[in-house]
Symmetry: C2
Subunit: 261 residues, 2 copies
């Protein structure tokens, strides 16, 4: 099943995709039983919002979660092979939907790059979960583009603006409740040309390990998202560019790059 | 005016304090006009929740926002006198209310400390605000206790567990819509004994500067909170301790320390 989030009459709605239509939900995504209110609308032409706004927005591994990416950003603080898994937080304020513009701040160096990522959406409250039980708490998956300003990132210990300026976290287009991570490929296209391709599942810390790690100290709740990191290459983007992230079975997250004023 | 958040019949409510009572609001805190639904209940005996759950939870200055505290935690990455202001994010999942227990995780070193902080609550959406206009976007103020596990903190570049384990961010008891920051004192008591006292307003980066700084890159929205940092000393706490943060005019945030199992 695929679930979207959008506005109708100025109110945020959740819907399920059925063929070419959105079938609107009566309540939220995490009711004990999903029900519908009878409203349908075409998927085409509906402006999709980020499919969820989490209570807490987690990023899987500080310093990267794929070996090639870790080696290319290696430093004393971020060894290529991490001894233990450190989690990060991202800002909900930075979320943007499918087809939204990514705005490069006017005082940016201009070195703004994509990072195509698998996003895990938590479906049930959990605390102190072992890896072998972790997948039972996953609601589904979506796609994230972890937009990063590389010059700022070097002097931004918390990544507060280098990775969290407005619109720097596109997420979508929808949440798909099923996925076979070992069979997935993440593919990034810039203006239609493939520029990055990697096996989605070849992570340093996989999804069950990450959920288990977080849950040892923190209660995960329905709607929380965990961005699982990217692999190299990550390339510069410029105003006018169109960036697409495709992950097998999860669709395509497409955003345009524009210059802020 | 003072506003609280609490549960009644299992539903989250907002209320205004009137004498010894809570007068319940019809909607949320940020309606264009506040209205009441006629329900009243005594303040005493009402279990208060954190007065707001923000969209994004900001911490004012990475490395500390008071000079004495910065000097005592000085490092190459965190100079005592910061050249520029770096913002951090904290996890909504870590929020706890007034009178809630702070739970020390079972594998903690035990070196868990308080940090008494002024918390700014944003009331109106703002972007690209100059410091001289920033205070118009403040809804009010509350108190935060930025609980920190000092041994973990040394090897936790994102502070993901050292400052964000469950219950490590008590906030409350209420939001007060008025404050004269220059005349405020922050006072911390451990088991009734005063252990820290500092002038709340003697910050490295003050409230208008911080709001302006964030808003240059990020849209602040109603309910967002900015924790403004603490000054030294910050001392160890142990299971059985009661920690109270009092800030002039904002009341007392009181929490007990318990050992996790």
């Amino acid at each position: 099943m695929r679930f979207v989030r959008y506005l109708r009459d100025g109110i945020t709605r959740y819907g399920m995709i059925e063929g070419l239509e959105i079938v609107e939900l009566r309540g939220g995504l995490f009711e004990s039983k999903i029900s519908f209110n009878g409203v349908r609308q075409p998927l085409a032409g509906t402006q999709l919002l980020p499919p969820i706004v989490p209570v807490t927005f987690y990023s899987g591994t500080s310093g990267g979660n794929y070996f090639t990416h870790r080696r290319s950003h290696e430093s004393a603080l971020q060894p290529a092979t991490p001894a233990e898994q450190h989690i990060s937080y991202r800002a909900n304020s930075a979320l943007a939907g499918h087809e939204a513009s990514v705005v490069i701040p006017p005082d940016s160096s201009g070195k703004v790059q994509f990072e195509g990522e698998l996003v895990v959406v938590i479906g049930r409250t959990c605390r102190n979960i072992e890896p072998e039980n972790a997948m039972a708490y996953v609601f589904g998956y979506t796609i994230g583009n972890d937009i990063s300003e590389r010059v700022w990132q070097k002097s931004d210990p918390t990544f507060w603006r280098s990775k969290n300026a407005d619109t720097f976290k596109p997420m979508g287009p929808w949440i798909d409740t099923s996925a076979d991570i070992d069979k997935m490929t993440t593919c990034v296209r810039l203006n239609g040309r493939e520029v990055s391709r990697f096996r989605t599942g070849e992570m340093v810390f996989d999804v069950p390990t990450t959920i288990s790690r977080i849950s040892r100290y923190i209660t995960l709740v329905p709607g929380d998202v965990i961005w699982m990191g990217t692999d190299d290459p990550t390339l510069d983007m410029y105003p006018g560019d169109i960036v697409e992230i495709e992950i097998t079975g999860l669709g395509v997250l497409r955003n345009s790059i524009v210059a802020g004023v």
